[in-house]
Amino acid sequence: MTAPPVLSVGNLAKAYGGVHALDGVSFDVHAGELLALIGPNGAGKSTCFNVVNGQIRPDAGTVRLEGRDITGLPPRAIARLGVGRTFQIAAVFGSLTVLANVETALLASRGASFGLWRPQDGQARGEALDLLAQTGLAALADRPATGLAYGDVKRLELAIAIAGSPRLLLMDEPTAGMGTHERLALIGLVRRLAAARSLAVLFTEHSMDVVFGHATRVIVLARGRVIADGSVEEIRADPQVRAVYLGRSAATGERGS
């Protein structure tokens, strides 16, 4: 790949007490790529993820977004620079309609949240409906977000996360708590959206069917270090990965932990 990476993580280190949660982690994520971050429990996935999204400040190392140093910025500043994210337990704005959820996110990404007078209705309606169409929620636009089925909540959160046309999408266990069919449908949707928007996607995941069926590239963390970085096939064949991680369950198994 010749284009500069969207996300570039260099030599991240973070220790809790004497435990090195991250110990010199480096990797890049490119546009259009779905990079899966996997590893056994305690490998440092969550720490790494939270350093990138700004919730944790690293002890050392840098996080660069399209060349710009964003290390240690608060989450909302990182969001405004073009990073969308979803949560392990999907969070949406329960008291707003599905449409208003997306409109609110759209206006926030434009820095228009302090609009005090003109009603929000209509300020970003077309764009919001478009996003709902892309995520398959058009028919639910006027429904309150509270009453949605969990699969719809997940897709709504995805629509909110990409509302600001981010360059990078961070997804923390995107398919946690979903059935097999829904899981593959959601990650398929993410893949289509990433391709259409040349979006870089970094996600942590426990479901191996999702990782090996849809990721463009896989990074394996163990004890705070990157032990493998490559295509799905390369990771599947990597003896070290098999030893520390996949060895404990079949490569096609449901859960790796």
């Binding site: 949406v92 208003a100 990404s109 302090f114 609009g115 005090l116 007078w117 003109r118 909110i160």
Partner: protein
């Protein structure tokens, strides 16, 4: 500064720190296990003192005094157990806000119970046998009893420490504080644990109060005064930490002692009477701690609070029916001055209602869409009233500019206090708002040169064309309608959506680039200015104001109006304020025990009708929209 004066004030400070520590420690232990902030904790302290004064007088012999104190504390502990079984068990699963309000209702009822039992006069207890004398320290005579109290604090701290570390009960309490679900899963009798913990917390508050017997008279204002102080201590020390509570109580007491000992000092040619700055000093200590360590000195960081309340239905712009109802209400309101010929009281009542509506609507903006429960909204009402009054009488400004000064004063207060408040969530925020309101009240009460102290300010009359009853009423109507319209614009604008988004899912909102703290700060300030407008109207309507204008009772009135109307609807505060004012002017005026009545009303609301009037109406028209 003389060293002996400082030492004297320090012992005195440590003595009061002990009492405060007992209350704060009880508050902390109860919160740790039950996750309820007991607003009635000050009332337990007060009851402890009243009971001790009564018992110490009645019981014979030298042991009578000490036996009386202990009995009083035990009685309060028993009362706590009864309260837990009868009331708290019914509210463990309701949203935080309703828990706060319900325990506050209990405080109101207990206050009236004390009024009924002991009457309105202050009661002075007997002096402590064996500790009537004084000891000499660097040339000053210190009351022995103060020295005893100064040591009682650390003694109880040590006793609590041993209880928590060495006993099975203590271990269970600590385990429950860390992980409640786990304790339930381990098969510990949760009901019994909660009752015991509440009894222990109440006992500590009762003991704190009882020990003051030889130091200060029992009076009916103690409950709220102590509650405000205890909140400051808990916020500084960190919720849930007993050593933190002690350290904070000592810190606050020492800073106060230092201020008093310094007396009047000259800074840059200006003389400052530092002894009058004790409240400001307390505020500064709290502010400093909050800025540096928002979780308090010994507290653990707050987890990003999930919203406890079930999500409300989306707000919709007014439909045809809503518009028609609003216009009809406006037409009725406009016709009120004409009613004066047949019913002279109508304009007076209607003016009270308008002021209440504006005040309640301002609080609703904060509590409903903002998700921030303020227990000290009277501070901004009062700043508006005093600002307007001082501008009109002191500066001699005409009515409209004076009114504007009031609004700006309230806005400035809200801007300052809001900066701290929006950094906290849930119960912490509620405690801080109440503490700020107590501070504003005390400043107004003590700053006699400017505010007139307890006498307040008089002769605040508007000039033409607002000097007639109809003129002032119509002006108030215009302010109210403008205020309600402004709130509606805010709520439906991107700002209101961002505010609700931050309330529904704060982390999600931040991850979408919404600066939740700043959005909330603006909402806090706007809400404060509207409350200030209500206060300004109040000053002109009554012609005189006193510290009672911004006492905690008014904050609670506003809370009740909002809950009575229904939190989930923008029309709620209008309905709630109207109904409450009517109730207040008719029923409550007839009885000395209006607090207990109000408390009972609140409990009925929380336990039976959590949706309020608007919720009830929208259920009645099932399928209809839950807005106005």
């Amino acid at each position: 500064m003389a060293l002996d004066a400082l030492a004297f004030q320090m012992i005195n400070g440590l003595a009061s720190a002990s009492g405060l520590f007992f209350v704060a420690a009880g508050l902390s232990i109860i919160f740790g296990v039950t996750r309820i902030v007991n607003m009635a904790h000050g009332a337990f302290y007060m009851l402890g003192l009243y009971l001790a004064v009564t018992l110490a007088d009645r019981l014979p012999g030298p042991l009578g005094y000490w036996g009386g104190l202990l009995l009083a504390a035990l009685a309060v502990g028993l009362l706590g157990a009864a309260v837990e079984v009868l009331l708290l068990r019914r509210i463990y699963h309701v949203p935080e806000l309703y828990q706060l309000v319900a325990t506050f209702a209990l405080a109101l009822i207990l206050n009236d119970a004390a009024l009924w039992l002991w009457g309105p006069e202050d009661l002075l207890g007997p002096r402590a046998p064996g500790l009537k004398g004084s000891v000499e320290l660097i040339g000053r005579r210190l009351p022995e009893y103060d020295v005893f109290l100064a040591f009682a604090g650390p003694a109880v701290l040590l006793a609590l420490h041993l209880l928590m570390k060495r006993t099975r009960f203590g271990r269970t309490v600590r385990a429950a504080t860390q992980d409640r679900e786990m304790v339930a899963a381990l098969g510990i009798n949760e009901a019994l644990l909660f009752t015991a913990v509440f009894a222990l917390g109440a006992f500590l508050a009762g003991l704190g109060g009882a020990l003051q017997t030889a130091r200060e008279p029992a009076n009916l204002n103690l409950d709220l005064a102590v509650l405000g102080d205890a909140f400051v201590v808990v916020v500084i020390g960190g919720m849930g930490s007993i050593p933190g509570a002690y350290l904070a109580a000592v810190l606050v007491a020492l800073v106060k002692a230092l201020c008093i000992a310094l007396g009047t000092v000259e800074i840059a040619g200006l003389a400052f009477n530092m002894s009058k700055l004790t409240l400001v000093a307390e505020f500064l200590v709290m502010a400093l701690v909050l800025v540096l360590r928002p979780q308090g000195l010994f507290g653990r960081p707050q987890a990003a609070a999930a919203r406890a309340a079930a999500s409300e239905a989306p707000l919709r712009p007014m439909g045809g029916t809503g518009r028609a109802l609003a216009l009809a209400a406006l037409a009725v309101a406009l016709a009120v001055p004409a009613l004066a010929t047949v019913w002279a009281y109508a304009p007076v009542l209607a003016l009270d209602m308008l002021i209440a509506v504006t005040f309640a609507a301002s609080l609703h903006l904060l509590m409903g869409p903002g998700g921030m429960a303020s227990f000290g909204h009277a501070a901004y009402f009062g700043l508006g009233a005093y600002g307007t009054a001082l501008a009109a009488t002191g500066l001699g400004l005409p009515t409209l500019p004076a009114f504007a000064v009031g609004i700006l004063a309230a806005g400035a207060g809200a801007l300052l206090f809001g900066w701290f408040c929006v950094r906290l969530e849930g119960v912490y925020l509620a405690m801080l708002t109440l503490a700020f309101a107590q501070i504003v009240w005390s400043v107004v009460f003590q700053w006699e040169e400017v505010t007139g102290g307890s006498n307040g300010l008089i002769g605040i009359w508007p000039d033409w064309p607002f000097d007639s009853r109809a003129g002032l009423y119509l002006a108030a109507l215009a302010v109210t309608v403008a205020g309600l319209y402004l709130i509606r614009r805010l709520i439906f604008a991107p700002f209101g959506h961002a505010l609700r988004a931050g309330r529904d899912a704060r982390m999600r909102a931040e991850a979408s680039g919404i600066d939740v703290a700043r959005i909330r700060w603006l909402a806090f300030t706007a809400s404060g200015m509207l409350a200030g407008a209500a206060g300004g109207l109040y000053a002109f309507a009554k012609g005189s104001i006193s510290p009672e204008t911004l006492a905690v009772g008014r904050s609670i009135d506003a809370l009740v109006m909002v809950l009575l109307g229904g939190l989930a609807s923008p029309a709620g505060p209008v309905l709630g304020a109207g109904a409450f004012t009517l109730l207040q002017d008719t029923v409550m005026r007839e009885t000395d025990y209006w607090r207990a009545l109000l408390g009972a009303l609140i409990l009925a609301l929380v336990l039976l009708f959590p949706g309020g009037i608007a919720g009830g109406l929208s259920r009645l028209f099932a399928g209809g929209r839950a807005d106005g």
